[in-house]
Symmetry: C2
Subunit: 267 residues, 2 copies
Amino acid sequence: MLEVKAATIQTSPVFGAIQENLHTALDLIPKNCDLVVLPELFATGYQFISRQEALAVAEDVTCRKGDNPICDRLDSLAAERNMTIVAGLAERSGDSLFNSSVLFHPDGSHGVYRKVHLFLDEKLIFDPGDLGFPVFKACGTTLGMMVCFDWIFPEAARSLALSGAEILCHPSNLLLPWCPAAMITRSQENRVFSLTSNRIGREDRTGAPAEFIGMSQIVSPQGELLSRLGSDGEGAAEATLRIVEQDKMLTPSNDLWDDRRPDQYRL
Amino acid sequence: MLEVKAATIQTSPVFGAIQENLHTALDLIPKNCDLVVLPELFATGYQFISRQEALAVAEDVTCRKGDNPICDRLDSLAAERNMTIVAGLAERSGDSLFNSSVLFHPDGSHGVYRKVHLFLDEKLIFDPGDLGFPVFKACGTTLGMMVCFDWIFPEAARSLALSGAEILCHPSNLLLPWCPAAMITRSQENRVFSLTSNRIGREDRTGAPAEFIGMSQIVSPQGELLSRLGSDGEGAAEATLRIVEQDKMLTPSNDLWDDRRPDQYRL
């Protein structure tokens, strides 16, 4: 059986303090991890007041080395520790700007997911994701990414799981208190691990104060809470994920994939 | 604003004791309800040992008056109290046999949903549902039905909500403890009321003992638990549902229907 040592990191980023935020987050990564998930926009902070402001710190993940302080640092760390890192960041691509989650392979290559469902004022800043819900081979298995508010749309986790994801990596800046419980259901209904990495703290740059709920967690395909942090305090939630590939058998008679009946659904 | 006085009934049926089970269940219905939901297979009990045994007590809901002890009784009560009743029963249709939920309108007409996702040995007894997830006008609004194990497939509640259901009626004989929490997520992700009517007690007719978890509940579109029963004891969970038709606005910027992006999903 494949075992993946995983951690989700919970931080309290200071808006705009990229080097400080990077330092704090990377310092919290446990030794000997195979997979680590960092929060949405973990290095820049969340409440951009304009698209221009976000573009100024957005990174083009296709550029190698140089002007990408966040990607360069994560590339180096992934290589150094032979570790897969998933992290949320503002992504520039031509004239477009996405709220993305980037997968940093130890070999220096990247996987990208662009947030499909934008929350509140993110709609004023970012373009909606245009890559669907891709999955990536990593850590000897298959990973998918979704970002924060994607949790409320069951189609997000479903799309990833149907494409073969065994682990959902879920960088977040959660405001609504409903998500931690809902992600247990997402794990159960898709029989996948889910790793939610959320931030704590508060931002108030737009006149609409945002209080982030923390509660970063790791959930098993059976919905067991393997680890969960609280709402105050930075830290790392850790667990060893024991992966049985494409095990969708809920009961001896119920394979959740075979039991699906798309001909009966309205979608 | 439309108000619907609703109740979900929790009973402990005795296998095969149809008249006794009917009496117990109907006796628990509060006065002046607009809508009441009864459990799956509430009048017959759950663990049929053969298709033949189930066929012997299954009812053809298209037959009017006569040999249908369950439907006839519910027809009469719906008319008498000017109430809509949703109840789970074994349904015969030609040579087919379904684990169905039937909606009894006060005017004597019926709506039928046939359980799409069969659990465990139900697959040996019943045919899988063939009507999709239809919705029905009732109580001045739109109702949908799903039965027990349908909860784990997000497509079930989603299909009903996309077809306009404001209230999900969910007759159940739940064994897994995960469902009550999951139905809160189903309500939140679809912004609909959900009414789960579950049984308690135990059956052991097949060598695989079944312990039913109760916890019948009523959940608001925001995921508030308006009423929930425990795991022991019969009773009625009651709530007044204040319905705002097709209100999918989670935030001033997030209409959960407009935000869906089927072009990005794999389904």
